[in-house]
């Protein structure tokens, strides 16, 4: 009955749940700073919630260490669908400087389908904001299409020019409207 | 003349309660209980006394003049009260035996599993 409003609202009120998979806390304070008055993610509906049951978007930060791997996966499993998984910072994507250490279990994408990667060793709050907004739209997309693997074209991907040598020119201006 | 009886019964009741309160032994509590009971029995009997009255039993042909009877009702009450006193003592002694068997002591200060 409220199918359309539900899909629309899914995009408009994404609740975040932050999972620290062994991070150096650089990304953690950046994620929280997104909710402070200067960047105020709440004005587009973001809210940090305490339990994965309430969450829509899981923000994972830190190289997934051997100790935190089972816990991260269990928490991600407990998030009800439709859900998005966002990795903040380059650690979850590749293990960054800790890549070959004995206690790092490698990128998160080895275990779970990651929807949005926000690169940067401590990405800028605006970058996190972009990532989360994109995740919110993916969330709405998943709700609309019903399949969990749905994804949207990435407005921030660098333009693929034909010939190799030409240096990548300035990327297209971003059109991410909220 | 009755006042002495009343004082005595009052004294017995107070003595009974005193033993229950101060003695830390279960058997002494039972003794205190029965002393208080006897005090009350004495009170009941002494209330029914009518000076110069005889035992309230009708025998054939003897009621010539209107001789006084002692009030029969308190006596009946005393009978029941004595019976009740006996039952109380019997039951409390059986309980005391079971308590001694399971707690191993008769001291009220140790028998306090249910408190607080």
């Amino acid at each position: 009955m409220f199918k359309k409003t539900i899909i629309e609202s899914t995009g408009k009120s994404p609740w975040l749940f932050h999972i620290n998979a062994g991070s150096c806390n650089g990304c953690d304070i950046e994620i929280v700073s997104v909710l402070t008055p200067r960047y105020d993610a709440e004005r587009v509906g973001f809210k940090l919630v305490g339990s994965p049951r309430h969450a829509d978007i899981a923000v994972v930060s830190g190289p997934v260490t051997k100790q935190s791997l089972p816990r991260v996966l269990r928490t991600l499993e407990q998030i009800p669908e439709p859900r998005c998984i966002v990795t903040c910072g380059s650690c979850p994507q590749s293990g960054n400087v800790f890549r070959d250490s004995y206690s790092v279990c490698g990128p998160l994408s080895k275990y779970v389908h990651v929807d949005v990667d926000i690169a940067g060793c401590t990405p800028k709050p605006e970058a996190i904001m972009d990532g989360l907004l994109l995740a919110a739209q993916i969330l709405a997309e998943k709700k609309k299409t019903g399949n969990q693997e749905a994804t949207l074209p990435n407005p921030y991907a660098p333009e693929k020019t034909a010939e190799e040598a030409k240096p990548a020119e300035e990327k297209t201006e971003e059109k991410g409207e909220a | 003349m009755m006042t002495f009886n009343y004082i005595a019964s009052f004294f017995l009741i107070v003595l009974g309660f005193y033993t229950i309160i101060t003695k830390f032994n279960l058997v002494k509590a039972v003794i205190g209980l029965s002393i208080a009971d006897y005090g009350v029995n004495l009170l009941i009997i002494s209330i029914g006394y009518v000076p110069g009255g005889t035992a309230p039993i009708f025998t054939e042909g003897e009621i010539s003049q209107l001789s006084y009877f002692v009030d029969p009702i308190p006596q009946a009450l005393t009978l029941t009260s004595i019976v009740i006193g006996a039952c109380v003592t019997a039951m409390s002694m059986s309980l005391v035996m079971k308590l001694h068997e399971s707690y191993g002591t008769l001291d009220t200060r140790e028998i306090r599993r249910l408190h607080g």
Binding site: E8, S9, T10, E42, R43, S51, R53, P80, P82 | -
Partner: protein
């Protein structure tokens, strides 16, 4: 024929005006305004006013995961019972001398009906069996105990003040209170009622579990406390009942203390009440929410049973000596 008409009108009351639809929309709106004002007080832009509506519909769309350990029937039934009780209270509260079901609109009934939503949340949390929910429900129960004393004192004070004026000893029925206020001005201006009004205002955040008194669902310490295991539609209903509870308490405040300002036309009265509710929310609830840190549970209890109850007791004594 008139019976059917009456039934229809009653159903209309239940469904439309003071009933479900009014509660749903106004509750959400009130909650949205409150969040926006709190954000503005923190120099933030704050979410759009309709944000609670978006939250509600999003939660409706989410999957409901019932933990295997939980008791399924209580888990699903509890939020709905809480919501229903709240809507019933809303029906009893007079809107400037109009009450949908006047039969027994009595303060004590309202006092006890206010217990049911809190109980619904408690038994919902108990049904899940999660330790976070256990700690949450223990804190919620202490919050209920601490809010009960001031509420009782306030209601007795109001009953006594109106009873004195009418001369019929004591008045517990909300309707006579509304009628009294219709004639000689709202109760707030009586000397004895001001501390009671303040006490009642301080109880609203405690009763609804707003920021400084939300030890029961502290998302940082005990992961959303009682609602730790709720997701999807039951959680949506709980969030809705939080919003409606805010509306119920503020409209109860308006009915008790700002009585006489109604015009008589139902719709206009409704708007006026809602306006007063918003004003109350802005200047009291949001202000307390934005400017304080979360209290520990025993500080909350001590605060309610000393400061707020003291205020209410003062007004009771004043009302008693006929002020």
């Amino acid at each position: 024929m008139s019976v059917i008409l009456n039934a229809l009108v009653d159903l209309g009351y239940i469904l439309i005006f003071p009933g479900f639809l009014f509660c749903f929309l106004c509750g959400m709106l009130l909650c949205g305004i409150e969040r926006k004002i709190v954000a503005r007080m923190q120099k933030r832009v704050g979410p759009p006013i309709l944000q609670p509506l978006y939250d509600f519909f999003k939660l409706c769309g989410k999957e409901t995961i019932v933990p295997t350990v939980a008791n399924k029937t209580v888990y699903l039934a509890a939020p709905i019972v809480g919501l229903a009780a709240l809507v019933v209270i809303q029906l009893f509260i007079p809107v400037f001398n109009f009450t949908a079901f006047a039969g027994n609109a009595d303060i004590i009934v309202v006092l006890y009906l206010l217990l049911i939503p809190a109980l619904a949340e408690i038994f919902g949390a108990a049904a899940t069996g999660s330790p976070f929910a256990g700690v949450g429900l223990s804190r919620e129960m202490v919050t209920i105990i601490s809010c009960e004393l001031p509420l009782v004192l306030v209601f007795l004070a109001v009953g006594k003040a109106v009873g004195n004026a009418i001369g019929s000893g004591v008045v517990f029925s909300l309707q006579t209170i509304a009628a009294y206020q219709a004639e000689n001005g709202c109760l707030l201006f009586k000397a004895s009622m001001i501390p009671a009004a303040i006490a009642f205002l301080l109880t609203i955040p405690g009763e609804t579990g707003m920021h400084p008194f939300d030890a029961a669902e502290a998302e940082t310490e005990i992961c959303e406390g009682m609602l730790a295991e709720y997701s999807g539609k039951p959680l949506a209903v709980y969030k809705l009942s939080h919003a409606v509870k805010l509306l119920t308490l503020t409209s109860l405040f308006v009915a008790l203390f700002l009585g006489g300002l109604g015009t008589g036309i139902l719709l206009v009265d409704g708007l006026i009440t809602f306006f007063f509710c918003v004003v109350v929310i802005i200047c009291v609830v949001a202000l307390i929410d934005a400017s304080t840190a979360r209290l520990k549970i025993e500080q909350l209890f001590k605060y309610y049973w000393t400061v707020v109850s003291g205020l209410a007791a003062i007004s009771l004594i004043l009302a008693w000596f006929g002020l």
